[in-house]
């Protein structure tokens, strides 16, 4: 199921404009998915990346890292010792030597590394595909946040209903 389907369903349920709210709802879906600590819908993926200036950019669908190793030698790298992750960037912090007062990284520029990770299910363009049974959870999350923003129009009761529904659905989807 595409993200647009969830947004359209939420707009219909909340009786609000698709055009005016689509961007915000996409951000909300992103939040809900990223904070959902379930491994049930994640799939194991491999990607080969090139290291430049001691760092490389990770794919957008990374949910949990498994391991990182050198493409040719197979040497494994340890998190927080050999590399660290900042946002969507993997940075090698360990140095092998100091030459002319310059630290030489354990992974030289141009090296290929393999990143093994649990990722979200995406289409060929890297866009997140929503699992069918997450639809209600995400619509309820959007409903909760939207009705909280426009509390005067929707009322506290409806907002709490959406909140409860989101929590119930979340538990059901772990």
């Amino acid at each position: 199921m595409k993200m647009d389907d969830v947004i359209a369903a939420a707009c219909e349920e909340l009786n609000c404009s698709y055009e005016a709210n689509a961007l915000w709802f996409e951000v909300l879906i992103n939040q809900a998915v990223r904070t959902h600590k379930s491994m049930s819908k994640l799939i194991e993926k491999n990607v080969t990346l090139e290291v430049n200036d001691k760092k490389t950019t990770l794919p957008a669908d990374v949910a949990k890292m498994i391991e990182v190793y050198h493409c040719i030698s197979g040497e494994k790298y340890c998190p927080e010792i050999d590399y660290t992750i900042q946002g969507d960037c993997l940075i090698f912090v360990k140095y092998s030597a100091v030459v002319d007062n310059t630290f030489v990284s354990i992974v030289p520029d141009g090296s290929k590394i393999v990143v093994k990770y649990f990722g979200l299910y995406t289409d060929e363009d890297g866009v997140f595909i929503v699992p069918e049974d997450w639809e209600r959870m995400l619509v309820a999350y959007i409903g909760w946040k939207y009705s909280r923003r426009y509390l005067k129009d929707y009322g506290v009761g409806l907002m709490q209903n959406y909140q409860r529904e989101f929590q119930t659905q979340k538990l059901a989807n772990i």
């Binding site: 609000c16 698709y18 005016a20 961007l23």
Partner: protein, 212 residues
């Protein structure tokens, strides 16, 4: 079909029968402006108090072609008449998108927010739009991410329905339904009656009240 002239005549007739004075001071243009304002107010009130169902009879469809194309920043500009402000959440736009009427484009801003700064949208390629006041008395629709756009369809409730291009008030139906028309007539008539009430004549007796 309800024409603007019908509403003007009805208001004039109500004022005439109610007050019995010469109505020649109400020219058509003045009454038409009152009608446009009353329509915008009533639609706004309806949306806030009753619900968000939009009667299609209030909506006008506009196929517009582009005005300018700024290649430097990949923006295409279309001129678009003013739309009404409905409530705190929405304005009068019902649909802005592909000319087939089935593919709405996403709006960039709603009030103050500009979500395109979110990293999620860094690689976004779909067409987006914004409604801006760039020049004096000219509102424009700006479209991003597609420099080849030539025509777009806009369905909206405009402040002054007669300002949309090619609107001929003698042929085209005024975008109201019968219920809204009745409410407009009541509102405008009531308003004008209040304004035309003669001040109470001051009698020469001692019963005259002195305003405090």
């Amino acid at each position: 079909m309800i024409f603007l002239s019908e509403i003007v005549e009805e208001i004039r007739s109500d004022l005439n029968s109610g007050m019995g004075y010469n109505d020649s001071r109400w020219d058509d243009q003045y009454l038409e402006t009152k009608i446009h304002n009353a329509r915008a107010t009533l639609i706004g009130q309806y949306m806030i108090k009753v619900g968000k169902f939009i009667n299609d009879a209030w909506v006008q469809t506009l196929d517009i072609s582009f005005e300018t194309r700024e290649k430097d920043c990949a923006v295409i500009t279309f001129e678009c008449p003013n739309v009404i402000s409905v409530d705190g959440q929405n304005d009068g736009f019902v649909y802005v998108g592909h000319t087939d009427g089935l593919k709405p484009f996403v709006r960039i801003r709603k009030g103050y927010s500009t979500l395109t700064r979110h990293s999620l949208f860094a690689k976004k390629k779909e067409v987006m739009w914004d409604y801006k006041h760039l020049e004096q008395n000219a509102m424009v629709l700006q479209f991003f991410n597609n420099t080849h756009l030539v025509y777009v369809m806009v369905r909206a409730m405009f402040n002054n329905p007669t300002t949309i291009p090619n609107f001929d008030k003698t042929i085209d139906h005024y975008p109201v339904d019968s219920n809204l028309k009745r409410e407009i007539v009541e509102l405008v008539t009531g308003d004008l009656m209040r304004k035309t009430q003669r001040p109470v004549e001051i009698s020469n007796t001692n019963q005259t009240e002195i305003p405090r």
